[in-house]
Structure formats: structure tokens, C-alpha cells
Amino acid sequence: MIPSEALISKAKDRQFVRDPSQAPTEDFHDILFDLEKEGEWEVQRVPEPYVEVETKYGRKKKIPLQHTWHHKSCGQCGHIPGYSTSIFWINRKLGLDYQDPTDQTSCTAWNYYASATSNAAAQAAVAMRNFAAAAETSYFPIIHCGTSFGHYKETRQQLIHSPELRRKVRDILARLGKKFVIPEEIVHYSEWVHTVRDKIAEHQVRDMSMIRATVHPACHYHKLIAEDAIYDPEIYGAQRSAIITGTLKAIGVEVADYSTWFDCCGFGFRHILVSRDFSRSFATMRKIEVMKEEANPDVTVTHDTGCVTTLDQSQFAAKAHNRNVGVPVMSDSQIAALAMGAHPYKVLQLHWHSTDNKPFLQKVGIDTDKAWNEFETAVEKLKNGQQQYLTWEDADA
């Protein structure tokens, strides 16, 4: 087993120094504001207080702490609802103001990346409609889905460099009665989790030091517009994205390396749609089995909808063939919320996950039978019509 700390060269003459001028693209911030001055659009500023972090080439990125507008993920809401519930739960526990909007649309990027739909103007119009909806509330958008996040950043590049596309999308927005406004930063929720990781650790009530985890960084986080992903010299010597690993270390989880960390989870967009067996095989044989053999983790942690679902929900197929699988999968928000005392079923909603996670929960010291009974008692109120949904008070009861 290779601990993540071991992955830094000890050769004394090697120290990686980042140079923002070596980034492969221009700093988009300057262009955003230049275009604003020319009257092309409005730029929604990151609300204060924010935290400045460094991205891959050493540029600064502002991460808002609160007053955030949560752009949710289709797949999370549909398949793993405890993912976003955990994000909201952490916000509430940290006393941070946020908004859970009801007028957000799907970004439609999944089909776009699967070569199945749409065109640049339609894609950009969807993005800008959502940004306008956020700006109307004065809350700042924060994106739950890695695919939406990566796609919106690509869309931003297209809008910056194409006056024709801006004109088309501005016309569409005008017909919808929406402002043409773009956020100063496009922020992924896991960047926010990373930024507040020390606050999370301050509120930690469960000891996580007996847990060994592997990390799967989402392709659409660190491979699309890579220059805008967070890297930290203290984590992997800024040679891999700091996201997830930084959070796990803050809550005392042991992070172990495995050789296929850079590979896709298997989702692959097109594959999950038209060649799902390939996704299942890749997720289990290329990722889960390698982790199991090289690191034997208690859990693997990732930060995107497709990654959680594919890594988690592919394991049943390999298990049927008696292969070496069985690693529970969850998001950084879920494990962070768990460390802060969140209920495994009422908040994390781990019963939506298919790989057996009870051994992991029990290792953290949770009586899973008791916790499940608490959940069933709570949902009884829904069954008997007493309530339509569980409240935050129910979640913490």
C-alpha cells in the first residue's frame, strides 16, 4: 500500500514552481471584465467573504463561502439524493447561507458529450439561462455536477471567443426575458468543500482515523479546462488536483494510492448510454479491483454524479462473477457530513448506494441496525400521511 504522502520526490533539488504565465490559455477573468466594459454582458461577482485558492498553473480562483445558488445534478437527484442533501446539510451545520432553487434546468451536457444532441448556441443558452436565474436571486451559482461544471467552463471559452455565439445566445435570453450575465467564476461544489475543509474538521464528531480511502478525481473536473482546477503544493506537490484528498486529510482519513487513479471511472458518457457492459467492466476491473488489490480501501471517494453511480452500481455485475470487488463509494460531501455527525440514511441516504457499505459504517462506529430503524421510524411519518417529506429537524432527530 502506498500512502499518498509517499508520492512526493525527496530529491532535494526538485521543487516544482508554478508560473501562471505558462498556462495554456489566457486568463479568462480579464476577458470577462473587458467584455463587460464593452457592454457585452454583466459579470456576477463572487460574493464576499470568499477564499482565494490557486489553480493548476498558480492563478487565483475565488471560492464563495456562502450566499450560494445550488445548481443541482440530474443524476444525483435521481440516483443518489443523499449526495446533494449532504452538501446542504454541511452548509446548515456551518451556518452558511445558501439557496436551493426550483427553476434550474438540466445542463443537457451528458447527451452533448455522448455526441447525441444539440448545438453550441443551444448549449450556451441553457448555461446562460441558469446563470441568469442565479443572478436574479443575487445568490452565486455553485455547480453540483462535474459534467455541468466542465461543460459550463467549455461554454464560457466559446462565448468569450465567439461574438457570433454571444449574439445568438443574447437574443435567445432576451426572448426569455432574462439578463445576459455570466459568473466571475464557475465553481464546483467540491471546491467549496475543499475550501471549508478546516471548518468541517472543526465540527467533526466522528473519528475517521481508522478509515483508509482511495480517491477518484472526476475527469470533467481536472481534465476539462484543466487550468481552472484547484492544485495545492501541499497535496501531491501540486502534481494532482488537491480536491477530495485535501478534505479527507482534514478529517483524518488515511489516503492510499492506486495505479489507475488517473483513469476514467468507466462512465464515459457514450459508453454508459450505448455500451454499458464496457462501463461495468472498466469500472470494476480497471478501477475497483485495482484499488482493492493495491490499497484495500474501506471506501473510495469521488466528487461527481457519474463517478459515484458508475463505480458503485457496477460492482453487482462483477460480484456475480465472484470477482474481487466490494468497495463502498461515496462523495466527498457525504463522507465529510458523516464525519460531522450526519445520519447515514436520513442525510447521506446510503441505502440508495448498491455496494454494501455497512462494514464501512460499522468501522466508523455506527450501529447500522439502529440507524436503519431510526430511518424507518422517520419515513413512517410519510407513509401514514403525517408529513410529505422529512425535515432538517427529522434528519437530526
Binding site: 502506498i2 508520492l7 512526493i8 520526490s9 525527496k10 530529491a11 526538485r14 516544482f16 508554478r18 508560473d19 504565465s21 505558462q22 495554456p24 498553473y57 501531491y236 506537490g237 501540486a238 502534481q239 494532482r240 495505479s259 488517473f262
Partner: protein, 353 residues
């Protein structure tokens, strides 16, 4: 005799050669070098032997420096950089910074010879783990070991039994934007492979390449001797990542000749890092307002028939400041820049008469 000297920036092989050529023709040169001594990258990076003739690099650079150090026609300013410039051909006014002290000099023409820097594998190509694994090194690191006759694994100090080179790291790579070939890495890797075999006869040496680019006589001077005399294994393939496996490294990739995946254990992996414009080259392009190409090297505007003229009249560039160049190219272009600079100063002086 023109009154205005010619300013040369950069004290590497190209800058030294330009200064010598100007002095030999009876004109005055001011040579500005940011380091405490002349010799440029071959000296700073501690090159062992030059490609392709295996001549001692330190000795060669010392010889070049000696030709100009006590030359009355060459005014050498060490520990100095150019901070600002104004004027035009025949009448440049340049501010030279030496620590806190600033000095203004006049020059009739300028030669930029600020060269290249080695590609940093930490900025891109992180999958090779240069900053993660001690035993992943670069051509430059190995050059230092060869010079010291101490080729050992940085992780444990023991001589390697298996060593490989991975070619085209930071070059010929569309993904990171460096589409160009750095010209010299195939030759240098083959030269270093020979030197490793000379110093460690029991070490097996491999070179993983896209295709070997051995220009001109390098084919006979380095490539065939490496294979035939020194038994270096050339493997056509693409290494995709380097992993730790036990106490060794595992090179994972594709053998494109055999058309199949490969996993090869190694003790040392040498990344054949290419060339990028140095920080000085990028900075001076801005100070003198000369055009740069998309890779930020200084653009020469004369095509194949004038390889040293820039977009600003009276400002010339030579060596690796204009793009990847070997030592022979650098010396040749430096001499050409010297001639063109003198011609520009003379024409300007005549016009003023």
C-alpha cells in the same frame, strides 16, 4: 568605425560566439549576462559532454569564454539584466540592471541570445511522476550524474540495472500545445545512453521513442553506435504513465511495433525533456517589442534566407531564442546575427552622414 557598440544579451554559446565575431571584425560589443559567469545553459545545467562529438562541455564553454573575457572589444557585464529599452536602429538606449544599480547604455543594434529552458514535467505530463518518484529524472539530471561519474538511483544510491529514456516529453505534443520537435533530444538521449553503457556496462538501457530524429551525421555518429556497439535497445512505443511497483518503477504504455500494451520494470526513467523559450527570451521580446511565435520563441521574419532578423529593425535574435536549436545551429546563427547587426549599424551611420 561606428561609434555605437552592439548589445548582446545572453552569455551562452550563441551570445559568446556573436561577441567574438563582432570583436574579430573590429567592432565593439557589450555582452549582458544574468549569471555570475559566462557559459549559458551548458554551464548552468552542468552538461557533461557535447552532442555529437562527446567533447567535454565545461572545457568547450571555458574556451569560448576565454576568447572574449580579456578582449578589448568586448565589454562583459555579468550579474546583469536588461530592464528597459527605447530608440531604434543606430540609436537604442538600453537600461542595464545590476542588483540595485541601473546603467543606461547606447547601442547601434541588439542581438538577443537568451536561449531556451528545459521543459518542466511538473507543469504538464504529470503522469510520468517527475515530482513524485525520485528515480524519475530528466536528461539534465542524468547529464549531471554522468559528469560526476556517479549514475545511481536517487532513491537508494545504488547503480541502476535497468534504465530507460522516454522521448518527446514536452515536445511534439498537441495536447499541451508544444507541437514542435525540440531537435536535439533524440541525439542527446542516444549520447547519454552510450555514456551510461560506458560507465555502467552491466546496466541495460532502453529508449522509448515515437520516431528517432537523428539529423545529418548524427545518424552515424550516435544512432548506429548506440545500437550496434553499445547495445542500447530502441523500442518504438508510447509510454503513458510511470508507476511505483515495489522498489522499482513500472513503465506502462504501448509497443507500437508489436501493437500491444507493455509494462516494463525500470530502476531509473529519464525523461527526454524538450526546449521552451527561456524566461529571459519571453521577457526581452516584450522589452524590445519583437514578435513572438505561438510558442513564445522570438519570431524571425526573413524565412529561410534570413534566420536572425526580427520584426524590429536593428534587433536580431540567434540560437535557441528563436526556436529549438542544437549547438551547431546556435553558433552558425550567432555569427550570422553578428554580421547582420554590424551591417545594420553601418547602414544607419551612413544614412546619418
Amino acid at each position: 568605425m561606428p561609434e555605437q557598440p552592439i548589445l548582446i544579451i545572453g552569455g551562452g554559446p550563441a551570445g559568446m560566439e556573436a561577441a567574438l565575431a563582432i570583436a574579430d571584425l573590429g567592432y565593439h560589443a557589450i555582452l549582458v549576462e544574468k549569471r555570475h559567469r559566462l557559459g549559458g545553459t551548458p554551464d548552468e545545467a552542468g552538461y557533461a559532454a557535447l552532442t555529437p562529438d562527446f567533447r567535454d562541455a565545461g572545457e568547450a564553454m571555458a574556451e569560448m569564454a576565454a576568447r572574449i573575457e580579456n578582449n578589448p572589444f568586448v565589454n562583459i557585464k555579468l550579474n546583469s539584466t536588461v530592464a528597459a529599452a527605447s530608440g531604434s536602429v543606430g540609436h537604442f538606449e538600453v537600461t542595464i540592471q545590476n542588483g540595485a544599480a541601473a546603467e543606461k547604455v547606447n547601442a547601434g543594434a541588439v542581438i538577443i541570445a537568451t536561449g531556451f529552458q528545459h521543459f518542466d514535467p511538473g507543469r504538464e505530463t504529470q503522469q510520468y511522476g517527475y515530482y513524485e518518484f525520485d528515480d524519475v529524472i530528466t536528461l539534465v539530471d542524468l547529464e549531471k550524474m554522468l559528469k560526476a561519474h556517479n549514475v545511481v538511483r536517487p532513491s537508494n544510491g545504488k547503480p541502476p540495472e535497468r534504465l530507460c529514456f522516454i522521448q518527446c516529453v514536452g515536445s511534439r505534443d498537441r495536447q499541451i500545445g508544444n507541437e514542435y520537435c525540440s531537435k536535439v533530444c533524440c541525439g542527446i538521449a542516444s549520447k547519454e545512453a552510450i555514456e551510461v553503457r560506458q560507465q555502467l556496462p552491466n546496466c541495460k538501457v532502453f529508449i522509448f521513442y515515437i520516431d528517432m530524429r537523428m539529423y545529418g551525421y548524427w545518424e552515424n555518429e550516435i544512432y548506429w553506435p548506440a545500437q550496434e556497439k553499445y547495445k542500447v535497445n530502441f523500442v518504438k512505443g508510447i509510454a503513458t504513465e510511470i508507476l511505483q511497483k515495489g522498489d522499482r518503477l513500472l513503465v506502462r504504455g504501448e509497443d507500437t511495433t508489436m501493437g500491444r500494451p507493455m509494462e516494463v520494470p525500470m530502476d531509473i526513467v529519464v525523461l527526454s525533456v524538450g526546449m521552451e523559450p527561456s524566461a529571459g527570451t519571453r521577457e526581452l521580446a516584450k522589452i524590445f517589442g519583437v514578435q513572438q511565435n505561438k510558442y513564445k520563441f522570438i519570431e524571425t521574419i526573413g524565412g529561410a534566407l534570413n534566420t536572425v532578423a526580427t520584426s524590429v529593425e536593428g534587433v536580431f535574435a540567434c540560437g535557441a531564442a528563436t526556436g529549438p536549436a542544437d549547438l551547431e545551429d546556435s553558433i552558425s546563427s550567432a555569427a550570422a546575427a553578428a554580421m547582420k547587426a554590424i551591417a545594420a549599424v553601418r547602414k544607419s551611420a551612413k544614412k546619418a552622414e
